[in-house]
């Protein structure tokens, strides 16, 4: 299609939320005012207080569980020989995986020049940060003596010992620390110009000072923007291999071991795809209520949901391929233990969970082939929730089925989560939601300056042919 026909077509069709990434008619001023008003002038909706209260109560559950855990020990959880990795590792991997979509949206889609990332990258990055915070809690609390966590870090000490870098668990320490730091830098750097916007808009002195302090004197100088953009692109280039490495290292926690079901070369790509899959499901879970309750349909259009659904479908298919290859390699290897592992998954005591995960992750997501489903917000929300659950079940199956029946039948056992496993899990959801609610209330959920930069593009696309 030539440039002229493309324009003619776009003029002929008025704003269509299914194809446009920003509703036309928006100006620099209207975008600035609308997004900053969410933080500065709009009355906090009653739903926010309700949601925050629930989240905060769940956070209280986390604090209670953590306090009891520190006082008593990890024995309050269901982990015991032979299953030494229970909910803590399942939830650790689940949360870390969720975080990956944020980095993918902010870094990889930036490098691929996908302008639709603009209205979702900010809260996806916040989601990453909060998900990593939840994930990080699990290994820390699983240590038994979390107050000695600094033993994980290499520092000269009077004990004369060093961490052991031939173990993937030590790689994890570096991967997660780096990931948390870089995610924070990316998020905060993106916020600086918007904090300056809030500083210039805020009416009360306290908020002006606070946002002004955080904006560090940003004034939008052309020379500053030049270096800022350079830094942003470089950071995206650095975060892209980083995000792949993080879930690769997480998968090494399993793949470097010699347990049937874990010792597989497909683990790194399959874990990374699964991470992006669950992450996009979570972005969708957050974006759909957000755009509805804060009336952001102009900015987060059906086109965004459609694109995210497509990415979910693609990564879901990769994950499905991973499940298939796990079963195929178990059979093809001819190794009796590998074969037993997969038969035990399919027909053993945890079989219902295995089949439920296949239904959630491979079955339900096929509905996204239909463009009608991809344009149905309620259906998308339901599918995203199902995928969130499915990816959690996947980690349960991977962690528990390989551990509970290993090479010697006399060493077999069962794993049952206790009530404290559940309160801890609900508690981290509470932590995540509490941070998310505070973020929505205090900081712009959509990158204002990047949205402003979209205005000329949108105006260009809808200009009449004659001009």
């Amino acid at each position: 299609m030539s440039e002229e026909t493309r324009r003619a077509v776009e003029v002929a069709t008025p704003f269509d939320p299914r194809t446009a990434i920003l509703a036309p008619g928006h100006t620099y001023a209207s975008i600035t005012d609308k997004i900053s008003a969410l933080v500065l002038t709009r009355r906090t909706p009653r739903g926010w207080f309700l949601g925050f209260t629930i989240a905060f109560l769940l956070l209280g559950l986390l604090l209670f569980t953590a306090a009891y855990l520190l006082a008593t020990g990890v024995g309050i959880w269901g982990v015991t020989v032979p299953v030494g990795w229970g909910f803590d590792i399942i939830n650790f991997v689940w949360w870390i995986g969720i975080g990956h979509a944020g980095t993918l949206i902010s870094a990889i889609l930036l490098l691929l020049r996908q302008p639709w990332r603009t209205s979702i990258n900010r809260f996806a990055e916040a989601m990453t940060l909060f998900a990593v915070a939840c994930a990080g809690l699990y290994p820390l609390l699983h240590m038994g003596r979390p107050w000695l966590f600094y033993w994980l870090l290499p520092y000269p000490n009077t004990m004369g010992v060093w961490p052991q870098p031939r173990s993937p668990l030590v790689w994890d320490v570096f991967a997660i620390t780096t990931y948390a730091t870089v995610s924070f830098l990316f998020w905060f750097m993106g916020l600086i110009p918007d904090l300056a916007t809030l500083r210039d808009r805020a009416r009360r002195r306290f908020w002006r000072l606070l946002y002004g302090f955080l904006a560090m004197g940003w004034r939008g100088s052309a020379l500053h923007w030049h270096r800022y953009e350079t830094a942003y692109w470089l950071l995206a280039g650095l975060a892209t291999p980083l995000v792949v490495s993080v879930h690769t290292v997480v998968s090494f926690d399993f793949a470097i071991s010699i347990l049937p079901g874990w010792h597989a070369t497909i683990f790194p790509p399959y874990f990374v795809a699964g991470a992006i899959y669950s992450g996009f499901a979570m972005v969708m879970t957050l974006a759909i209520p957000l755009r509805k309750f804060y009336e952001l349909e102009d900015f987060i259009t059906l086109k965004h949901l459609d694109n995210m659904a497509k990415i979910m479908l693609a990564t879901g298919l990769i994950v499905g391929y991973g499940y298939m290859m796990e079963a195929f390699m178990a059979w093809y290897s001819g190794n009796p233990y590998e074969r037993f592992m997969i038969v035990n998954r399919m027909r053993g005591p945890y079989a219902p969970i295995y089949w439920a995960l296949l239904v959630c992750n491979v079955g339900v997501v096929q509905a996204l082939w239909s463009s009608r489903v991809r344009k149905n917000v309620k259906a998308l929300f339901a599918i995203a929730l199902v995928v969130n659950v499915g990816m959690w079940l996947e980690r349960f199956v991977i962690v528990v089925t390989s551990l509970h029946r290993d090479f010697l039948p006399s060493a077999w056992g069962m794993y049952y989560p206790t009530v404290f496993d559940w309160t801890m899990f609900l508690g981290t959801i509470g932590l995540f939601l509490t941070l998310m609610f505070l973020f929505i209330r205090l900081l712009p959920v959509i990158s204002i300056f990047e949205m402003r930069a979209l205005v000329p593009e949108v105006a260009e696309a809808s200009r009449p042919v004659s001009s």
Binding site: W162, L185, S221, W225, H226, L234, L238, P241
Partner: protein, 179 residues
Amino acid sequence: MTERRELYGLLAEFHAPEAVLEAARRARAAGYRRMDAYTPFPVEGLAEALGFHRTRLPLIVLLGGLFGGALGYALLYYAEVVDYPLIVGGKPFHSWPAFIPIVFETTIFFAALSAVLGMLALNGLPMPYHPVFHVPRFALASRDRFFLLIEARDPKFDPEATRRFLEELGADGVWEVEP
């Protein structure tokens, strides 16, 4: 001379990115050098129009990454080969393939840190005080207005002539910036 000390510069207001870009080009062509422009979002080519061509930031990030990688490797080598040699799984002390993940992560860590801190340092941020904030209209630089500043220390600066020059560029308003 006294007149100059009272003035930091003149700030011209525009309402479109193309206008400020054109104004910057013409101001530079007219011989002005000590200029800056303020925009609510990055405007392509504006920094170049003001005579700014290269930033050292990529070099800083490269050096940061190399430093991080070298530091990570040196740390592991010292810990595992020199200070605390321990046979694990029959692997050599200097088992470099097992060092790769950590060296990779420290490389990214320091490169990313130097990208952000380097950007802030080169930009001179945090900067709690700047004269342009005296102009009330400047609050719109973070909303929908575009500003071009010509500083008083520019050798070609003259309060009257420069003001006239900026008005001829099509500025919506020209404001005096007190130091």
